[in-house]
């Protein structure tokens, strides 16, 4: 009997999980990743001759709760047509009754892996602005992402930014959502609320009807360190755009101080992630400009009312910073204002000062 190396065992494990795509137009190529409720495979669309990412459930139950969740995710993606959101191509069910959908295969790096290639602060901020765009678009379409974090953001070879993994998305102002939340309001326990982990929709979590595959009030979904406090407390009904603003603030903190941000996200306690001191990049002793630190702290305010009301507001403040203008999050004094104006109009100020100096020298020479 042939001895199998650890690597071969892993390859066999993957091969045994491989979906049988017989009867579809897709041809399996390789395994990409595994998520909470399924796996993502690289496949070829033989009809169109292009590569796609195929997300498929583990459970062979086309009418089950997980299938409903996957279909819901697919439908949400379908209504979010934006260059910064991975487009969905197809949805279907395999012969073994596993539900799948296909989407654009994104070749790129995750934000956390890409960051080392973006050295300058302005470049990082411009990258952040590109992250804000699809999130703001989704909000306009009434969709919250609820799991924004560096691992869910891909940066393509041409610098294009794509927000991925909409599996936890919440539709705002959806009657079905409201009904689902209200129906399950009394279901969760304090223990469930404090079990702050990512979406493992597995036995043990509160059940959700397939017809209303939404998240019940009290159910905690998200990632520690990037979850808004109200989200970490399971207050699903209270969630609005500002929950994603909080996550974007955490991403901004990550862009400004990657090491400190990583440390802050290790602790699973939502209290730590949401404390104001943890939100401030300068708390880690870094040389982050005060105005940017203030933007970060405002976006990550524990109180939703203390945050930016929308992603556009957050992005606008960053634009102001990049343009050398005042940011709303940082009330500056006279000296600070002068320093900023000097930095913004450095050339003109230096020219004027040079001109004045020359005039003074000339005047002094004439009086001699």
């Amino acid at each position: 009997m042939k001895w199998l190396s650890d690597r071969t065992v892993e390859r066999l494990r993957v091969a045994a999980q491989a979906p049988d795509l017989a009867g579809t137009r897709y041809r399996l190529i390789s395994h990409i990743a595994r998520g909470g409720m399924g796996a993502v495979w690289l496949a070829e669309d033989t009809a169109l001759g292009r590569r796609v990412a195929l997300k498929i459930l583990d459970v062979p139950d086309a009418s089950g709760e997980l299938a409903a969740r996957l279909l819901r995710e697919a439908r949400i993606l379908a209504r979010l047509e934006h260059p910064g959101i991975v487009p969905i191509h197809d949805v279907g069910t395999l012969a073994d009754r596993r539900v799948f959908y296909t989407m654009k295969f994104v070749e790129g790096r995750r934000l956390d892996q890409h960051l080392e290639h973006v050295r300058s602060l302005p470049d990082r901020l411009r990258l952040f602005q590109r992250i804000c765009e699809p999130v703001a678009f989704a909000h306009v379409r009434g969709v919250l992402h609820r799991d924004l974090k560096p691992e869910n953001i891909m940066v393509g070879p041409f610098g294009e930014v794509l927000v991925m993994d909409w599996g936890l998305a919440k539709i705002l102002h959806d009657p079905a959502e409201t009904a689902g939340a209200a129906a399950s309001e009394s279901t969760p326990s304090a223990e469930e609320s404090s079990a702050s982990t990512r979406l493992p929709v597995l036995p043990g979590l509160p059940s959700v009807k397939a017809s209303q595959p939404q998240t019940g009030h009290g159910v905690v979904l998200g990632t520690p360190g990037y979850m808004a406090p109200e989200q970490a407390r399971g207050e699903v009904k209270r969630l609005d755009e500002r929950a994603d603003v909080f996550a974007l603030g955490a991403i901004l903190r990550f862009l400004l101080t990657p090491d400190a941000a990583r440390d802050a996200t290790i602790a699973p306690s939502p209290v730590r992630a949401s404390s104001e001191s943890a939100a401030r990049p300068e708390a880690a002793g870094s040389a982050v400009p005060r105005a940017l630190a203030a933007v970060c702290a405002k976006a990550m305010s524990p109180d939703p009312n203390g945050r930016y009301a929308s992603v556009q507001e957050l992005a606008a403040d960053l634009s102001n910073y990049l343009d050398g203008l005042a940011v709303s999050a940082y009330p500056e004094g006279l000296f600070g204002k002068l320093a900023r104006l000097f930095a913004r109009h450095r050339t003109a100020v230096l020219l004027v000062l040079g001109y004045l100096l020359m005039r003074l020298l000339l005047l002094a020479w004439q009086r001699r």
């Binding site: 009997m1 091969a15 045994a16 795509l21 017989a22």
Partner: protein, 250 residues
Amino acid sequence: MSDDTQIGGPSGRFPPTRWSAIVAARGDDPAERTRAFETIVAAYWKPVYKYIRARWGKANEDAKDLTQEFFARVMEKGFLDSYDPAKSRLRTFLRTCVDGFVANQDKAARRIKRGGDAVLMSLDFQTAEGELARSEPPAPGTMEEFFEKEWIRNLFSLALERLRAECEARGKAIHFRLFELYDLEGERKSRLTYEHLAREFGLAVTDITNHLAFARREFRRITLATLREMTANEEEFRREARTLLGVDPE
């Protein structure tokens, strides 16, 4: 397949569906009990031997004796009666039993009782020893993971050999060869594509797709069937399948 053990192996029967070695080993039918015993030994003797070597630091010869002796105990009627799938997994139960057995074993007394170094089963310890030498020695405190890893390795080895035998018996040796090349050795040949295989084997790309899909499907089926043999009931089987493959079996 090499005949590294005469228990189980390529000529072993392909299991009928939903047959459980654990249930059969507790039954009264002697033939079924023997078959169940063979199945359990085939799946567990290597992990047990390697575990005794690694966890207890036993010398090669002592570990062989202890492995033989341990499975002789397993064969005794009633040994598995205390196993409760609701409380633990079979491999956890067996590993705990091995620990208790080795801790209490007096080598001299054992030899007298069993008649010295008489070989009870033909197990290829030399191969197991060679495999052990090729593996990274487990770190202290990771013995449970080590035992589980070896169990999975052995389970996949058995499933792979069964797949090979089935494919050959059904005139589908090429399916297995493609599976070996693409799914097992593909990493060493990172640029291997379906098109390469199609050219090499003189087949259409769609044939490669279909053959690989067949082999993967069969490997999965055989792995699950092997796993089912090692579990006492449906619930335990599903739990183990999810742990092993990350999927719910149909």
